[in-house]
Amino acid sequence: MIHLEGVGYRYAGAPRPSVLGLDLELRDGEVVGVVGAAEAGKTTLCLLVAGLAPRAIRGELRGTVRIDDEDVGPWPMHRLAEVVGSMSQDPSRQLSGVNGSVFEEVCFGPMNLGMPRAEIVDRAWWALDALRITDLAERDPARLSGGQMQLVALAGLLAIRPRHLVLDEPTAQLDPAGTRLVGDALQRLASDGASILIAEQKTDLLARIADRVVVLDEGRIAMEGLTDTVLADPSIETLGIPLPLMVVLRRAVADAGIDARVLDVVET
């Protein structure tokens, strides 16, 4: 479990904190969605949970981040990387850029962590299988579609076998086909019991995979609760968050005075 207690973060040189007073619990096996307008602090939250802030991006951290009750403050980045796997939205920048094949790219993390060779190879095959991209193994990572690149990046994280995944808008730069590709993979991981923190503006995707949703507004948690409850709350629209299609439909059906049960067909 990852536990944020009163966490605030001010980037080096920034006049004021980007997030403030965050209290958040990420339980094992739980998928937590993060929504919020642009600049609400989603990326900063992801960087904090991943440990990249303040280790790789300088700034001032308030409060504590704990993993299983241990304050991870003193942990070096490579130790955190074994427990929390994180990636951001830009497909091409997730990849190391020096590996000639997808297979080697997926091996990159475990190689960095100095795992035994046979285990690395085993993990890489397993991660490729888990995301159903074994057929990409020989391809040049730089010549994949955006969606495929994100899956390769994700496989590179899975191969490390972290206990938590932190995904910052993993579909933001993808076309509909890429979004579906990544969304389906995430749904499978989620139903297999993965622990995921995912910032995502596409609430339709969150409606499918998230157990809970956290709403950020100007660096603070504005709302938090079960996915269905939060995403159906009318007030999130005023925070610049698009409603999931099902919620919009349900509302339209109700407004038109039609029996809500017609939507059961759509949902299944």
Binding site: L52, P76, G114, R117, R161
Partner: protein, 283 residues
């Protein structure tokens, strides 16, 4: 890993021990198509560097020409990359070669023998000879580097350097730089298209082209640097900054005779320096 008993993301259905361990893909580190490709990357790098140095050290026309022929043209043709090497290295070398030859052909100071006159300019035989020397050197260097580049996979070079004890960060920089060459060319042409669309000239007379190309240099280099910086996050997230050796999956072969070849090549440098210092040399 220390937390085997805990659930990890996407736990495999069965424990690893029950499955047949799967092998490295057969194509990984697959030997190259020709015996030249199959040389150890460091050997090919040594050949390229020593060739470049010798092309300069030897002086005259015969020496560098022989180097060009033996160390670039011959292997390139035998390896089947002759056309590619000649085209790319001429492309690389021409701008420098042309400007250097024009300057020397017409403006070599105190050259007595006139070849022909062009308006106020006088082309000299000494200038022509000097220009030829420079062109051969530049072409030899461009050719040697191109041949290395075309016949060496980046991953082979990177793995080999790291196996020899070079730090992962340094090998990463080398690897990024090498992979960046074609990417930068791509990006430069994309930016060129954009600049053209905004009315900047990248076609037409050499002078207009120069003026058109200059605005491309900044964006191209900045873009590349930005990318490296943003990549560091992804690298750190995957444990790249862990101290100590990384595990390598495979490494290119390096037979003993290749080491001998490398040292012999390196030794030709002091030999030529001494010979030249003694006043000997080919025409």
């Amino acid at each position: 890993m220390g937390h085997d008993t805990l659930t990890t993301v996407g736990d495999p259905a069965e424990p690893a021990g029950d499955r047949l361990a799967r092998p490295l893909p057969a194509w990984l580190g697959r030997p190259g198509p020709t015996s030249w490709h199959r040389l150890n990357p460091l050997t090919k790098l040594t050949i390229a560097v020593v060739t470049s140095i010798q092309a300069v050290l030897l002086g005259g026309i015969v020496g560098p020409s022989m180097v060009l022929l033996l160390a670039v043209v011959l292997p390139a043709v035998r390896t089947g990359v002759g056309r590619q090497v000649i085209r790319t290295s001429l492309l690389l070398a021409l701008p420098l070669a042309i400007s250097a030859s024009l300057v020397n052909l017409f403006f070599l100071p105190d050259a007595p023998t006139t070849l022909f006159e062009l308006g106020p300019f006088r082309a000299t035989e000494e200038g022509a000879r000097f220009a030829l020397e420079i062109v051969i050197r530049v072409v030899a260097i461009a050719g040697a580097l191109t041949l290395f580049y075309i016949t060496t996979r980046t991953s082979d070079l990177v793995v080999d350097l790291e196996r020899r004890g070079m730090s992962p960060r340094l090998t990463f920089v080398v690897g990024s730089a090498v992979t960046m060459v074609p990417q930068m060319v791509d990006r430069a042409s994309a930016i060129a298209a954009a600049q053209r669309a905004r009315g900047l000239d990248t076609e037409g007379s050499p002078w207009r082209r120069m003026r058109g190309v200059l605005p491309l240099v900044g964006p191209t280099i900045m873009g590349a640097l930005n990318e490296v910086e943003e990549r560091t996050l992804a690298l750190e997230a995957r444990g790249f900054t862990r101290p100590g050796r990384r595990t390598l999956l495979w490494s290119p072969s390096d037979p003993a005779y290749e080491r001998l070849v490398r040292w012999s090549l390196v030794l030709t440098i002091p030999v030529v320096v001494i010979v030249r210092a003694g006043g000997w040399g080919l025409p």
